[in-house]
Symmetry: C2
Subunit: 310 residues, 2 copies
């Protein structure tokens, strides 16, 4: 195999109580990427469609992630990358992670899978470092593993796959405003009360248990973030109204996707997820905020080969 | 049925990263209790063996828990309670919880089970309130539900049963020193860093996942407490040595049981749990600390009827 076309999923990081540790992959929104072996060593971004992004390898997240892989590989050739960028950068659904994860996943396939998923995450994290100065794993992990992932620890990196209940759907709305990840991190306090910490880890335990048990009610009860959401949600127009209206429309829970501005909900069943989408749309129409919206099954495969690859 | 004899398990609360939320029940150490219906309304402590504890209903944790149940019941009679107290008060393995939980569980059986486990926990929490001024649930929940329990939330009370891997054993050593729960709570800081909070809830997620997946390695990696243990362990002689020596003897992890002074470890298999017990004993013998020690399978039933009940 000399060439591969892959779907690179958007992802939701910071799943409510699971700030910095819990993420999930989406199925209906993601980039498309063609990765092709070259005889020349190196990583070459040959085409970017859909967005204005740097073509220089060292300034492109997929380039940097790919170089990290090449550095650990015996392979003497290189790779060309074409990116059809469908996820908007800055939307809070893992745009940079999709490109980084997609590139290294496809390269690994083309090389006969010498690297583990954990190693691929480590390569892709280099792309995240370029994008946001922090080599975080909470978007690239679900993009590569699929489904829900828990980044239990960074030193050493320890990623746990958490099972995904069959009927779980996400609805994500992206208000057309810009929040920089670095800004949304700056406003966080560096200390929290022990009391809130206890409630948070109680909910993380409940959420993980709910996912294992297909207990949608428990998932819903656990989708609460007492620490980050109250601060960051101030930057997102209409957040409180969306939260109330989506709960009324049947959502299990609602939170900030990544560092925002996208807002996600989880629902049981596509029908409810679509009703929740309507509630989100109406809320933003009423306050005059432009938006994109996605309804998606949870993607349990992560990055995947597209059927029309050549 | 007019009378019931029950085994009331000792419990480990604050299971490492699960401070204030995760507990488990033991099988080889617990109180024995006989609960008997009376025509006179009220709860009457008629006998206490093994320890000097108050006989007055209002000053005895099982009395107070029993009264909380009676108050919500249609039953027009009362109960006599005989307690054979085998768990030492102040040991940190849920002595008061065993008495509270045992009393209300037995009463519920004698009345034909009108109350749910969640309601029984709420009654038993009144005993905990008498014992330590705080109506905490993290010992009474595993005593009543058995196995591992997560107290996800107090308002409303939400208790989640977490499955117990078949080969999991606990080893608990009780150094013969006294630490008051109220004192060990006072030394805790009321704030923590966000960074440590994130590591803690990553580990709670990992521990819950490990218990669901029978993944002993993941359980071991997750049994870390960055927040409470570094402070409280100062009060426990030889804690650091026990931690190192039990890990070398094969324990998955080691932490403070409840608010101490008991130290618990979890191990895969009884053989390892016994080796760990030897490591603990040797450590305390070397520094001249007297101790009790228990090796126990995790008790997945909680309070249970004893075969010789009359």
């Amino acid at each position: 195999m000399e060439e591969l076309k892959v779907f690179c999923p958007a992802t939701i990081a910071n799943v409510s109580c699971g700030f910095d540790v819990l993420g999930l992959a989406l199925d209906s929104v993601g980039d498309e990427m063609i990765v092709r072996k070259t005889s020349e060593k190196g990583v070459f971004i040959t085409k970017i469609k859909g967005q204005q992004l740097p073509m220089e390898t060292n300034k492109n997240v997929s380039g940097v992630a790919g170089l990290a892989l090449l550095e650990k590989s015996d392979y003497q050739g290189g790779f060309e990358i074409e990116i059809d960028k469908k996820i908007k950068p800055g939307s809070g659904i893992g745009s940079s992670a999709a490109s980084s994860a997609g590139a290294v996943w496809a390269m690994n396939q083309l090389l006969g899978k010498p690297f583990s998923n954990l190693e691929l995450v480590q390569f892709a994290m280099q792309g995240e470092k370029l994008a946001s100065d922090v080599a975080h794993a909470d978007n690239v992990a679900p993009a590569i593993y699929g489904g829900f992932t828990l980044v239990r620890s960074y030193q050493p990196l320890d990623i746990i796959s958490i099972p995904t209940p069959e009927e779980l759907f996400a609805t994500v709305i992206h208000p057309q405003i810009e929040i920089k990840t670095s800004d949304s991190r700056k406003i966080l306090k560096t200390t929290i009360t022990l009391e809130k910490g206890i409630r948070q880890w109680g909910n993380v335990g409940g959420l993980v248990a709910g996912l294992f048990q297909n207990d949608y009610s428990l998932i819903g009860r656990s989708l609460q973030d007492y620490i980050v959401e109250p601060i960051r949600s101030i930057l997102i127009p209409g957040f409180d109204a969306i939260k109330i209206n989506t709960r009324e429309a049947g959502a299990l829970g609602c939170g900030i996707s990544g560092s925002g501005p996208s807002i996600f909900t989880l629902s049981k069943g596509e029908h409810t997820a679509l009703q929740v989408a309507d509630a989100m749309k109406e809320t933003y129409k009423a306050i005059g905020v432009d938006f994109d919206i996605h309804v998606s099954k949870i993607n349990v495969e992560g990055v995947k080969r597209m059927t029309d690859d050549r």
